[in-house]
Amino acid sequence: MTAPMLEIEHLRFAWPGSHDDCLAIESLTVAAGETVFLYGPSGCGKSTLLSLMAGVLQCRRGSIALNGRSWSSLRPAQRDRYRVDHMGYIFQQFNLLPYLSVLDNTLAPCRFSSVRARAAILQSGTLQLAAQTWLGGMGLPSQVWDRPARDLSVGQQQRVAAARALIGNPAMVIADEPTSALDENRRDEFLDLLLSSCQATNSALVFVSHDQRMAGRFQRRIALPGINQATPESRAAVRGTQGLP
């Protein structure tokens, strides 16, 4: 068995100023290329866990390692670099810079990460070709590639976001409810494309949703309330703090 892509051990996390932990997870691993469906009711700490996985938040105890490196061993600037080198994101919506073209949006991670740029060039020859390959793979017609992102429909925008998350083959893709703004047909279409693309690049995928109808498509399903050992009172505190900006 290969080393896990993401490894969480003895995680304890509390929001600043709070005594009680809102997340307490003994162990959670995601293998390379594995697709994981993470679900739970809203306010159970899904987004907090994602932020911890991405090294945006730091845990109080325990460790979170991505591709063998613990986030806590890196300085903030190094974390920023490491994150873009190894991770792609897809948000719920508003993923794109509306004034850049579809192609430029897709290329954005390669502008900030030389690792991603090198990987993309290695795969397709040039950055331009890499972006076009991914956009084509996401089923976006070439006529829209040079259009500003704001001209696209929400469904098309999410596919551009997926192409952007995957360009340069990051080891891990995190998707935070990316289908919540899509209707049912578009949702299934998007999921198909995302899963097959992750398989193609052997990227691990952590897909967060509260919509369990999609769960069957993933290799593993994790209910966050099931693995979170924090007390119910402190979980209530999670709900409280999540309402804050």
Binding site: S47, L50, S51, D80, R81, Y89, N95, A108, D176
Partner: protein, 421 residues
């Protein structure tokens, strides 16, 4: 990498061009206001002291130096005592004296002071930056009953050359004491100077004497009127004048001449240095200057607050954009750089527009301001305070533009991961 940030900054800015244009206009207006107030404040003093130049001494009967300056230069108030004509003549013969301009005040024409003097007034009187008086129309008085009027007198009263006017005794409130029996013809109109000269009706000393030939102790002598024709036949050598403006051959002699005049034997006289007296007078009325300085300060505060609020208002608009940028790998340093580029360029642009607008306005409105308010604006010589204000504007605008960067540093990635639209 850096080139990419510049491209990104430009694309993002172009996307928000309307907001940015408004920000720039607001910065330009702040600049205009701030520098304009400061310009007026600075030049107000300059304009005040420019009422008289090239005159080395002002001589009058013993009184306060400020009072002598007020009535001889600004035509405010009146003299308590006059100088005898013989004294005037001996001052003119003092060693080192190049020229003298005798001035005789006391009458008025519809609220404008009347000044009796001689041809030296047009030859030697200087104002501002040693600018001599020039006639806009007509010629100096040649006949006894001819007058040369200042530009404001002509404009306000709509006077033209050749028109006949009647002078009044004293300040003219009581028309009983009218000099209507001896009307004057307007022979010349002076160019605008922005000094009290504009508000003055000039006649010859002889005319002044003729007006009062049949007067005694401030009233006409009853039953002994002398007609305008008859008065030409009597001796019109002035008996006394109000003050004398003195020009020297050599400025270095100013203190010895002053001492000589102050020690004059025949009657008690006083000689003052106009520059010193102007400074003293400014010290009294300069409270207005402090008010303007306070005003400048308030304008600065308000402009900078407006600037910061305009920049911060754009923050909400950018929050999502910055979150996306952070999520695709832009470091906080990149974000701050991006905002700094934009903030710096917009602030600089706004300030440049403001300075250009102010300079253009000062040049365009300069003549009007000078003739209407006597204010001479000099947009070409910025003051030290103006540079400091510009620096403060630039710094506050630029710093305000970085505030979203500071917020982005703390928030944007979490924002991006769990978006709240």
């Amino acid at each position: 990498m850096n080139r990419y940030l510049w491209t990104l900054a430009w694309r993002s800015a172009w996307n928000r061009r309307l907001t940015l244009a408004l920000t720039m206009v607001s910065i330009a207006l702040s600049t205009f206001m701030l520098l304009g107030t400061e310009r007026v404040r600075t030049d107000l003093r300059g304009s005040f002291t420019s009422a008289l130049s090239g005159t080395d001494l002002i001589v009058g009967a013993r009184t306060g130096s400020t009072q002598l300056l007020l009535y001889s230069v600004f035509r405010i108030g009146s003299a308590t005592n006059n100088l005898r004509w013989s004294s005037v003549q001996s001052i003119a013969q003092q060693r080192g004296v190049a020229w003298i301009i005798p001035v005789s005040l006391g009458d008025s024409h519809r609220g404008f002071p009347v000044l009796g003097t001689d041809e030296n007034y047009l030859r030697h009187f200087k104002y501002g930056n040693r600018t001599p008086l020039r006639l806009a129309q007509g010629k100096p008085w040649a006949d006894l009953f001819e007058a040369v009027i200042g530009s404001e007198v002509a404009n306000r009263l709509g006077y033209r050359l050749g028109q006949r006017i009647a002078l009044a005794h004293g300040s003219g409130e009581l028309n009983l004491n009218d000099h209507a029996d001896k009307p004057f013809v307007i022979a010349g109109i002076l160019q605008a100077t922005g000094t009290p000269v504009d508000r003055t009706v000039h006649i010859s000393l002889q005319a002044m004497e003729a007006l009062h030939a049949d007067w005694f102790a401030g009233a006409p002598i009853p039953g002994n009127r002398i007609s305008a024709e008859a008065v030409r036949n009597i001796d019109l050598t002035p008996r006394a004048v109000t003050a004398v403006l003195v020009g020297l051959d050599n400025r270095a002699a100013v203190f010895s001449v002053q001492r000589a005049i102050n020690g004059f034997q025949a009657e008690p006289l006083m000689a003052i240095l106009p520059g010193v007296a102007l400074d003293e007078l400014w010290g009294i009325i300069g409270a207005g200057e402090n008010a303007l300085l306070l005003m400048s300060g308030l304008v600065a505060l308000v402009s900078m607050a407006a600037l910061v609020s305009v920049v911060l208002a754009g923050l909400g608009e950018r929050r999502r954009e910055l979150a996306v940028l952070r999520a695709v790998g832009a470091s906080p340093k990149d974000i701050v750089l991006l905002l700094g580029i934009e903030g710096g360029l917009v602030t600089t642009g706004g300030i440049v527009v403001g300075v250009c607008a102010l300079t253009a306005a000062a040049l365009a409105l300069g003549p009007w301001l000078q003739s209407r308010f006597g204010l001479i604006l000099d947009p070409t010589s910025p003051t030290e305070l103006q540079f400091m204000l510009l620096g403060a504007l630039l710094a506050s605008g630029w710093l305000a533009s970085l505030v979203p960067g500071w917020r982005a540093y703390r928030l944007s990635l979490i924002d991006g991961l769990s978006p709240r639209t």
